[in-house]
Symmetry: C2
Subunit: 197 residues, 2 copies
């Protein structure tokens, strides 16, 4: 038995618990009962902070999306040649994914059964589209291989970046630091594994 | 109400149904009842063909694993420079993934709660390790970038390849044919998106 705790949560600290449970059980598979048990407070205490689990989902995916979209406003993303900008955005996307791992994981697993989920998927596609537009601009500058379909390249690039949520863990001693991973993604995607010959 | 069909299944055709349901509901979330309903035959008819759902899982992931391991015995995987062999294996892995999409999807989603799942994960790691060994050999030949950690490169390469199960669909008009996707993966991974400058 879990002894109910006095409710010392804020909407933000409650969010940390909710995101963990959403990632463990899936959003659809999580009930208010599960959240109440995990937080150690009553359901009515949770309702004191938020309207329900969909509000927790919206706050969580907003945190991931806001961090991702903020990248696109950074100087490295708006100045210079398109190819440099898209490399910058790729590196920063990996960094945000690692820094906000539970939130981005949740965002990537959202499947579209509720209004909030569909909104999150739509925003995610918008972000991908912005990166795709940068890749297109880099191709138009002659800085990307002419034999590569840009929409396909965008999918493969995000496939590689997003796969990090499956294995990257930020604990010390997990093998890689964040900079090393971000650099490896950018080098693999833009320069390839082969030595230039 | 589904009208029960006469049982005209073989273990192989029953497998097609089971794999679809496992991928839709997750292996853990699938009961014999779900399989019986989806196949339109009674549970006892299913038990006539297989010992239970774990046997269906074993047959399904074996099909994916056998196809993947067979690649490593093909002439292109055993002759020539390591870098050519690993490019060959990458291309063929993408082709097998697309040809055996439901089976490889199931293999990649297996999470390790049963003996069969743990065995499948172990075999999958073995396959990844074989590719990693080829990458190491290519690096030793001086054919891969010296600044890339090979274990990390292996993870990123499989991250990109495996992400195909999330969006690639083999229907005509889905946008890409298999050869185009396989070629794009190999070019991106080994030569990168940038033009050589």
């Amino acid at each position: 038995m879990t002894t109910p705790k006095r409710d010392t949560y804020t909407p933000e600290t409650l969010l940390t618990v909710a995101v963990r449970i959403f990632n463990e059980r899936g959003y659809d598979g999580t009930s208010m009962e599960h959240l109440s048990k995990a937080a150690g407070i009553s359901k009515s205490s949770i309702y004191h902070h938020v309207a329900g689990k969909e509000e927790l989902l919206r706050r969580a995916v907003s945190r991931a999306l806001d961090s991702l979209f903020a990248i696109l406003e950074e100087p490295g993303a708006v100045r210079g040649r398109a190819v440099e900008r898209v490399e910058y955005v790729t590196r920063r996307t990996v960094e945000v994914l690692m820094a906000e791992l539970p939130y981005v994981t949740l965002l990537l697993r959202v499947r579209g059964n509720t209004t909030t989920e569909r909104w999150a998927m739509e925003r995610r596609r918008e972000f991908d589209q912005r990166v795709s537009d940068l890749l297109k601009a880099a191709a138009a500058d002659g800085d990307l291989r002419a034999d590569m379909d840009i929409r396909l390249a965008t999918r493969l690039l995000f496939g590689m970046v997003n796969s990090l949520v499956e294995w990257y863990r930020p604990h010390p001693g997990s093998g890689y630091d964040g900079d090393q991973v971000a650099e490896a993604v950018v080098r693999l995607a833009f320069d390839g594994l082969r030595t230039d010959s």
